[in-house]
């Protein structure tokens, strides 16, 4: 049985080279190429339907960097094992070792490729936690959050998100037009996107840019509190008393 391999690299010669090497080592590790992609977004689009067992993934790609691609793919039920490929990135390499992620250096040697494929054949897809740790290590912030629908990955640009609210098991992700449910802890999202979102309540983060202002709400039997008014959506979200002074400052600083 040959191993189903998917190749993602933005440079045509680099993809050609990998294909050549796969042929060279076919006697040792029989493989079949089930797909190719020229950039990150294309990988997200094409890989899920390809049935690939192993993904050879360039980390410096346009569209979306390799590491983020791997993080979105980690949501798939039977995601591929991932072997990262990089021309040169000292920090990434150190972090790969640390997070037990497999990688190859360009130019790739046939022997190393064979070894990586053999290892990957028996391996599972890297876990979301491993990949998140890798991203944190490199201070890489995702540009998208993803929702996996059967064999499709739906990407939501982080810059379109108005708020994120924790609700029991899920986090609700709200853009101007839609609502999605994602399975990531709010605390991790807060840490990763600290520059973009601010906590207004124990269970809620809102985009700093989306804050229009505040409204005072005075329920008859309760203490008065503040509601945040957001750009593009009608819903008002309550601000906790604890977060209020900090939020007031953010808005005041903005003038």
């Amino acid at each position: 049985m040959s191993l189903r391999v998917f190749i993602a690299d933005d440079e045509a010669p680099a993809r050609d080279r990998l294909k050549e090497l796969l042929q060279d080592i076919a006697a040792d590790v029989p493989t079949e190429i089930v797909g190719e992609a020229r950039h990150g977004l294309e990988t997200i689009e094409r890989l899920p339907g390809s049935g690939a067992q192993v993904l050879l993934l360039d980390i410096e790609m346009p569209g979306m960097r390799g590491l983020e691609v791997a993080r979105h793919l980690a949501g798939l039920d039977s995601g591929p094992a991932v072997v990262f490929v990089t021309a040169h990135d000292k920090h990434a390499v150190e972090a790969f070792e640390l997070n037990a992620l497999d990688y190859l250096l360009k130019p790739v040697r046939a022997q190393r490729l064979a070894a990586a494929l053999k290892k990957a054949a028996g391996a599972r897809a890297p876990s979301g936690e491993q990949l998140a740790a890798q991203s944190a290590h490199l201070s890489e912030v995702r540009e998208y959050l993803s929702v996996t629908e059967r064999h499709r990955i739906v990407l939501v640009p982080v810059r379109d998100i108005v708020f994120l609210r924790a609700e029991q098991k899920y986090v609700t992700l709200r853009t101007k037009g839609r609502t999605h449910l994602i399975e990531e802890p709010l605390i991790a999202l807060e840490r990763e996107f600290a520059r973009r979102f601010v906590r207004i309540h124990r269970n809620c983060l809102v985009a700093r840019d989306a804050i229009r202002g505040f409204e005072r709400a005075a329920p008859s039997n309760d203490e008065p509190h503040w509601l945040v008014v957001l750009d593009g959506i009608d819903e008002r979200l309550p601000v906790s008393r604890r977060q209020w002074p900090m939020l007031r400052e953010i808005v005041a600083d903005r003038g």
């Binding site: 010669p13 050549e20 346009p62 021309a87 360009k106």
Partner: protein, 339 residues
């Protein structure tokens, strides 16, 4: 005349045709006159009046001195340093004495010739000493600049990806693989060449084309380069590796991070006695910023300043979705240098 020449930094007269040198002479002499006036006079007002009076005498003389030095600069450049210094001092003193005598003849100034000669000699010597110190202070900077040029030039990402691309070619198109390796060799030879020497614009353009050929191989149709070089004088001299890093930046920031194809423009032209080089690339809004821009610019700016002093400039701006870098420098040729 060149202010930079291999191994002979410590023995060079200043370039009297360089704006920076001229400006420094003017500022230094006037400052000296101002200080002298302030020292001689009891009040600020009196000192200022005295300075204005002196300036009326001094400025025409300075203008004459600077103009004559400008005119004879190439001749002075041919002399050995010591003789050159003597010639400059003699010339400056002679002009001052003649000027003074001419004024006295017209009954305008009572000051004796000897005084004028003494101060002219003093000013000339002090300034020559100052320029000599500056050259000495700059020569380690040159060595440093050379090193920095090297370090900032070799982007490992580019080297390894290029080697990878060549490996991919070896079996299917050995001829192109050979040419690519030759291009890479030329590129690296220029990286390790003497960064203190002027190069011809035609050589720098050849280097740009070799570099572009390698990038084209890696990026294929994603990279489109428009060359506008018809008005580029091939005999112009410039510091090495001023343009190639800019083209590399344009590709690195404007093409590589994009999923769609993009266009890079390279335009080099002569306008009068200036050389203008312009490199443009698309501005990409999406995606995290790629680091490393600043360093290349600082390095280029610094080296241009070392070669041309205040007569070169580097500007960057964003114009209708295009990122533009413009370099302007004097049109210098081998003949003009020798003249």
């Amino acid at each position: 005349m060149p202010s930079i020449r291999q191994n002979t930094y410590s023995d060079l007269l200043p370039d009297f045709r360089n704006l920076g040198v001229i400006a420094r002479v003017l500022v230094a002499v006037n400052t000296f006159a101002l200080v002298a006036a302030a020292y001689a006079m009891p009040t600020v007002r009196a000192a200022l009046e005295r300075f204005i009076e002196d300036a009326a005498f001094l400025e025409p003389l300075l203008f004459i001195e600077v103009s004559v030095l400008f005119a004879v600069s190439p001749l002075l450049g041919r002399l050995r340093y010591a003789y050159g210094c003597i010639a400059v001092v003699v010339l400056v003193v002679a002009l001052a004495v003649i000027y003074q005598a001419a004024l006295s003849g017209l009954q305008l100034s009572p000051a004796p010739l000897g005084r004028a000669a003494f101060f002219a000699a003093l000013a000339a010597s002090v300034l020559l000493g100052y320029f000599q110190l500056m050259v000495k202070a700059f020569s380690p900077a040159l060595a440093e600049a050379r090193l920095q040029a090297l370090q900032s030039r070799i982007r490992p990402h580019f080297l390894f990806n290029s080697l990878n691309a060549v490996l991919a070619l070896i079996r299917r198109d050995p001829g192109r693989a050979e040419r690519t390796l030759e291009d890479l060799a030329d590129l690296f030879r220029s990286l390790v060449s003497d960064a203190r020497r002027f190069v011809r614009l035609s050589d720098e353009i050849a280097l740009l084309e070799r570099y572009a050929a390698i990038e084209q191989l890696r990026l294929g149709e994603r990279l489109r380069i428009t060359w506008e070089l018809d008005a580029a004088p091939s005999d112009a001299l410039l510091p090495p590796l001023v343009l190639q890093p800019l083209l590399e930046n344009a590709v690195y920031h404007g093409i590589e991070p994009a999923t769609e194809a993009g266009e890079v423009l390279v335009r080099i032209e002569r306008r009068g006695d200036r050389i203008l080089a312009r490199i443009e690339n698309p501005v990409l809004d999406a995606g995290p910023e790629r680091a490393g821009n600043r360093m290349a610019f600082d390095n280029i700016r610094e080296r241009l300043a070392l070669f041309f002093d205040a007569e070169a400039r580097v500007e960057t701006r964003v114009d209708a979705g295009r990122y533009c870098v413009e370099i302007e420098m004097p049109y210098l040729t081998q003949e003009r240098r020798a003249a």
